[in-house]
Symmetry: C2
Subunit: 152 residues, 2 copies
């Protein structure tokens, strides 16, 4: 499904989130088959972060606890609500909750709502970001779309 | 809105994507006010990646072209459809399209659909990821939720 992978960019179509459960699955050594999960690093040849999409049906939670060695994780919960366990502390999450977790923190999360929980997890080496946005971005001259289109 | 920012984790509630336009805005030196845009690094004290949420109404596109100095970007388009311009090449995007862009590639994107386009942009230093997922993750003993909940 990776459309393009040139020297400059790569594209992967993971499908709308409502289709992730049917489109994606991985085999996990403890959890067995995890429906809806897809890691993107290999598809996209990412070199700065690993990112995955994930799905938890109503009432479901991660069946194991994990931490990391050197990677900071960012959890982006798009829908549903529930909780994260972070070193044994319960933290409420809802649609739009974004959670940074340092490597050694032991974590799990679950969806206690009646909706499907769609979420993303990004992992990047803690401390690796040196500059960002306006210090790393470069604006170029030219108008990409002509006059028919504008941001608002 | 940052709920917690301890040594181990931080939480920010950005709201459900349907509320991003009303909740968030930034001032951009060229584009002026960009509704729906929110950078998360400062709120979450991210150290491995910068991440932002963004919104493009039907027919809207980024009004400028940009590239990066050292950061790889990952674009995650959650809804809507349209195109990215990547070094002048048009690449079709749809709900679920995920696009890795190397730092020097000049880019812009637009929503040509009738739906609102919600998306995320992650930037991390190109080449900084050393290990990931099963090489960086550590499974811990114990069951987080007891028997009432399981992943599927």
């Amino acid at each position: 499904m990776a459309l393009t992978n040139t020297a400059g960019y790569a594209v992967y179509h993971a499908g709308p989130m409502q289709e992730w459960t049917q489109r994606h699955a991985v085999q996990h050594p403890i959890a067995g088959e995890i429906r809806g999960k897809k890691w993107l690093k290999d598809e996209l040849q990412l070199t700065g972060c690993e990112t995955s999409v994930g799905v938890l049906p109503p009432g479901a939670g991660t069946p194991f606890l994990h931490s990391h060695k050197q990677n900071e994780e960012l959890y982006l919960f798009l829908t549903g609500s529930g909780e994260m366990l972070l070193d044994g502390e319960s933290v409420a999450i809802e649609a739009g909750s974004m959670v940074r977790v340092e490597p050694p923190v032991v974590r799990a999360w679950r969806n206690t709502s009646d909706e499907v929980m769609y979420y993303l997890v990004i992992q990047a080496k803690a401390g690796s970001l040196e500059q960002w946005t306006r210090t790393d971005g470069v604006i170029h001259e030219g108008i990409p779309w002509g006059n028919e289109s504008e941001n608002n």
